[in-house]
Each structure stands twice: as C-alpha cells, then as structure tokens.
C-alpha cells in the first residue's frame, strides 16, 4: 500500500495547501508515476490538469482533486464496452482464449470465469491447451471439477493447438454455451511460442470463431506490459484485458497505456486467489484505487 499512501498523502498535501505550488505538482506527478502509469501519460495528465486549473483560476483544493479524478477517469475511458463476448454465432459456443506472459493468472482467471458462468446457468467446457508447464492441465482440471465442468486435455508435451481444437469440438458436439481455452504462459519475445499461439487460434477457428481473446496482465507489471500487449495483440488480436492481483499493493497503472494503445478495454479484475475473487473493471473504481480513495 506504499505507493497508494504516497499518492494519498500527496493529494492530501494538495488539499492542505491554499496555493498549488510547484512542489505540490511534483508530488502528485511523482506519485502517479509510482502507480506505473508511465511517464508519458503522467506528463499528459498533469499538463491537462494544469491548463484547466489555470483557466478556471482554481483556488479550492477540493475542486482540484475532483478535476484530477475526472482527468484520470477520462484517461481510462468509462464509455468503453466492457462486456465479455461469450455468445457464439449460429448456435455455436462462444470461444474465449486466455493468453499472456508466464505466471500472470491465466489459469486462475479461467477458474473464476467458469465459476461465474456456471452460476449464471451456462454450460461450458474447459480446454487445457497448456501442455508444457508442469501440472498445468491438472491445475485447470482442479478448477473445472470445483464447478462441475469438464476439462478437455491432451498428453503432456502434446500439440496445444490440437487440444484446443478438441476442446472446441467437444463444446460444439455437446452444444455448450462457452468454451474457455487456457494457454501456456509465454514471453512475447519468443517468436516460436508466439507462432504457436497464433496457430492455436487458427486451428480453433476451423471449428468455431474465437469470440474473445483475453490478455491477462499482472498488476505488478511495469512498463514492459505495453510491449507485451502490442505483440500479443499482433499475434492473436486481443479483445479484452484482465488485470489480476489488484489485491496487492500494486495499482496496475500500466493498463491505462495498454488500453489506449490497443483500443481494447480492461474487462475484468482479479482480487485474490479464490474462485469469487473476480470483478468487472470500472473506470471509477480503478481510478479511486489509484487515488487511494
């Protein structure tokens, strides 16, 4: 909660002083940077805020704070459609592919989404297309069995694309509503693994269109998150972002740049390791987290 407290106290500083001087501006700017917002967006935000406040000749610190919040919310864009695309066309299942670098929370997020969809009365199949990491399929199958959902898996070290295809084929044959496909974590710099990911998607689409590609980003991620997002998006056309581990001290500010550059909304947030620790992303909630409200 360190950066959070720092920002909160910087904002309190902003409120306490009757004049907004340079060091107050510096404090606010620096504490935005410590939320991983990035130097670029922070500078832009500060510029807008300064301009607005000087035009209005603001003296009231409460107004200044409200403006900062409003600027941030504008940056995060509350108008984006953040619904999950889980409805397939022509009676086919919706197909959701979950991708990202290693250890961000892909498998856990699938477990959580499965729980949510089952609670809504939908039928589903999970596809364990991580055939590489030790016990990855077991981990997904554990999540599946907790909510009474079948997990399609292949041999360890087998071809992930064919497991994904089998899972979707099963889903189609059983007439389920949604197929959730887990993939192995991979660094965006590994061309071979990224090609494999592209192939997984192409092979799935021989059976049914992928309706949603979720990129999972860990809230602790720094500026590398933007590069990750670019490359994953190039390879599998990401349609939504999941920001995990927001229950920790990291604020996940990097998703602001990611969302802006890709034009793809953050849809869900992860708030813990349990099945229910998933929530819809809201611009207001995210910004209030950033501001320590």
């Amino acid at each position: 909660a360190g950066s959070n407290n720092a920002l909160a106290s910087a904002l309190l500083g902003l409120l306490a002083r009757d004049r907004i001087d340079e060091s107050t501006w510096d404090d606010v700017e620096e504490t935005l940077i410590t939320s991983d917002l990035g130097v670029g967006p922070t500078t832009e935000l500060m510029g807008n805020l300064r301009r607005e406040l000087s035009i209005d000749g603001v003296q009231d610190p409460a107004v200044a704070r409200a403006k900062l919040r409003a600027e941030l919310i504008k940056l995060v864009d509350p108008t984006l459609d953040r619904g999950l695309r889980i409805t397939g066309a022509d009676g086919q299942p919706g197909v959701v592919m979950v991708v990202g670098v290693n250890g961000t929370g892909k498998t856990t997020t699938i477990g959580k989404i499965a729980r949510l969809l089952v609670a809504e009365g939908r039928t589903l199949v999970l596809g364990a297309a991580d055939t590489f990491r030790a016990a990855a399929a077991d981990q997904l199958a554990t999540w599946g069995s907790r909510v009474g959902v079948q997990t399609v898996r292949g041999p360890e070290g087998g071809d992930p694309a064919s497991v994904a295809f089998d899972a979707v084929a099963q889903g189609v044959a059983q007439g389920v509503d949604v197929v959730l496909v887990d993939t192995a974590g991979r660094l965006h710099t590994k061309t071979g693994l990224m090609d494999e990911l592209g192939k997984i998607k192409r092979v799935i689409e021989k059976k049914a269109p992928v309706t949603e590609v979720l990129l999972v980003i860990d809230a602790t991620t720094g500026q590398n998150g933007l590069i990750q997002a670019r490359i994953f998006s190039d390879v599998v056309a990401v349609t939504g972002i999941v920001l995990t581990k927001l229950d920790g001290s990291a604020k996940g500010g990097i998703v602001v740049q990611v969302q802006r550059e890709l034009g793809v909304p953050v849809k869900l947030i992860g708030l813990g390791e349990g099945a229910d620790d998933l929530a819809p992303f809201t611009a207001e909630g995210f910004v209030d987290g950033l501001l320590g409200a």
């Binding site: 909660a1 981990q139 998150g225």
Partner: protein, 312 residues
C-alpha cells in the same frame, strides 16, 4: 524523438566537445535523460531520486577525461554507480557446516519459485550435491503435482507428504522435511512455498512460521523481472516479514529492462544472487551486476566503446 538513452545523451552533448569541465547545466541535462531512462526501466522513483543525487555529486565539476567524450564520461560514472548498488560481485550460496543446508524460496504469486526449485535442484545435483525439494505450497491448485513433475524432470527427490489443494499444514511439512533429509542423507533442502502478497499479513506470518520451523541458511526472494514500481513495496514487505538473504530475478529471458533489480538491491541491501532466464531447468545462471547495469541503461554498445577507449 530519440529512441535510446544513448542517442538522447549524444544529442545533448553534441556541442560539448572541447570543454574542460562538465558544467552544472550539462550535468543536469544529462541527468534528466538518465532519470527518464531509469523510470522507463521500472526503477522505483524514490531509488531513482537517490541515485540521481549520488551521480550529480560525482559528476558536477568533474574533469572531462581526454579519452572519453562527455557522454561516455557521464555514462561511465552512472554505470559504475549502478554496478555498485547491484552488489559489485556475485555472492554464492552459503552451505551449512552441518548438513542439511536449507534454502527457502519466497515471493509473490507466479514469480517463479517452483520452477526455481527445480533449477536449483538440478544445479546442485550437477555439482554433486544431494538435494531434496519440499512441497510446502499446499494452497495453490496442484502446486504439489507441479513440484513433483519439476523434481522428476530434474531427477531430484521431492518430499510431498500432503496432497495440497487446501489439505495439510505447510509448517508441519517443512519441519518434517528436515528430519527426512537427515534420515535419508540429503545435504540440501529446498523449500518451495506458496506465493503470497506483501500486504497479506496472515500468509506472511505463515512464511515466518515456515522459516522458524526450518531455520534456513538462505531465504531467497524470487521476483519477476517485469515488476514495476511496486518492487520496492513488495521487497520491503518481504524483508520486514519473512526476511530474506538474497534475491533471484526471474524471467530475464524477456525484454523487460529489470529496473527492479536496482530498486530491491538499493532498498534492502540484499544481493541479487541468481538470474532465472527461461522455463527449462537449465535456464539459470549466477547474477552478473555488470550485465544487469548495461541492461537497465540499455547501453551495452556505448559501454563497450568506453572500455575500448580507456584501454588505448
């Protein structure tokens, strides 16, 4: 827009040749670029500030050496300062006088602990040790199976008396592993623990209890090289909670600049000992502060030039 720090600095000092000393404004201009580069490399802001202040002191009024141009001179000082904080030279694992040596792994969720357990196990086995991996993450779904598979791949024994997935007491497992090692003459015990957040007091206490149960020779804090500004909060929380003796930076095979290494070394004073750079068991190396420094600055080429210039 200039892409790299190197380009930006070179542009800054286009007109500086022939001066005898670096003026305050020369230094300020350069340090502004370096500050930005460090922030973009995810070095924590408070660390950046301290670091820049230290560099300013070293650079202000410094004589411009004949061999180096001003850019090279500034980079040389900054680089040396970076390496200094990163620990100068590599520290090796301390083995216990009376085996077993106990190594405990701790860190955030998904940072690479279990994978590291396998890598350490293989590395130790290859250097004629007889390690035992201990499955003390009984929380994350199939963490125990994962360690078993990793152990199998490494050809190293795994102590996993409890099935996990919420069943079993990790502190008891950790304690029992020491007896097991003594009984079966394993000389190194590597305890894999569940991922936990710095802000989770309950799980941090569990880590402390595990530590107290096994009295480790080394507690290693495993951290993802992609981590951003939060590195400092998290490292401090682990340092003050379970405590650690060394740091392992994982996922260095990506293109993250890894500024966290600097942040953590600076605020905890603990050395980075290992670099984990891949998913396979062999993707593991001792940590090299000089390589890390040039990675953070993203100026390997320039550093090579400096070395050459100084040799002649």
């Amino acid at each position: 827009m200039f892409d790299t720090l190197q380009d930006r600095l070179t542009a800054t000092f286009r007109n500086l040749r022939g001066k005898g000393r670096l003026s305050e404004s020369d230094v300020n201009e350069a340090l502004r670029e370096i500050r930005l580069a460090l922030l973009e490399a995810d070095v924590n802001l408070s660390v950046v500030k301290e670091f820049i202040a230290a560099c300013r002191e070293k650079l202000t009024g410094a004589e411009i050496s004949q061999a180096l141009n001003p850019t090279q001179q500034i980079v040389k000082v900054v680089n040396e300062e970076l390496i200094g904080i990163l620990g100068g030279q590599t520290r090796e694992v301390r083995f216990a006088k009376n085996p077993p040596t106990v190594i405990m792994l701790a860190g955030l969720q998904g940072s690479g602990k279990t994978t590291l357990a396998g890598k350490l196990g293989k590395w130790l086995k290859d250097s004629k040790h007889h390690p035992l991996l201990v499955a003390a993450d009984l929380q994350r779904p199939n963490a125990v199976n994962q360690l078993q598979v990793v152990g199998q791949r490494a050809g190293v024994a795994v102590f996993a008396p409890e099935p996990g997935n919420g069943i079993g007491d990790p502190v008891a497992v950790a304690r029992a592993s020491i007896e097991e090692a003594k009984r079966k003459l394993y000389d190194v015990v590597i305890v894999d623990t569940a991922g936990r957040l710095g802000v989770d007091a309950e799980l941090m206490q569990q880590a402390i209890d595990i530590r107290n149960a096994v009295n480790p020779d080394e507690v290693l804090f495993v951290v993802d090289a992609m981590i951003g500004q939060d590195a400092v909060n998290t490292a401090q929380a682990f340092a003050q909670g379970v405590g650690f003796d060394g740091v392992v930076l994982s996922k260095l095979d990506g293109d993250a600049r890894g500024g966290a290494a600097l942040s953590i070394a600076r605020v905890t004073g603990k050395p980075v000992m290992f670099a984990s750079n891949g998913e396979n068991l062999k993707d593991f190396d001792l940590f090299h502060p000089d390589r890390m420094a040039s990675r953070i600055l993203d100026m390997g080429d320039l550093l090579t030039l400096i070395e050459q210039a100084e040799k002649t």
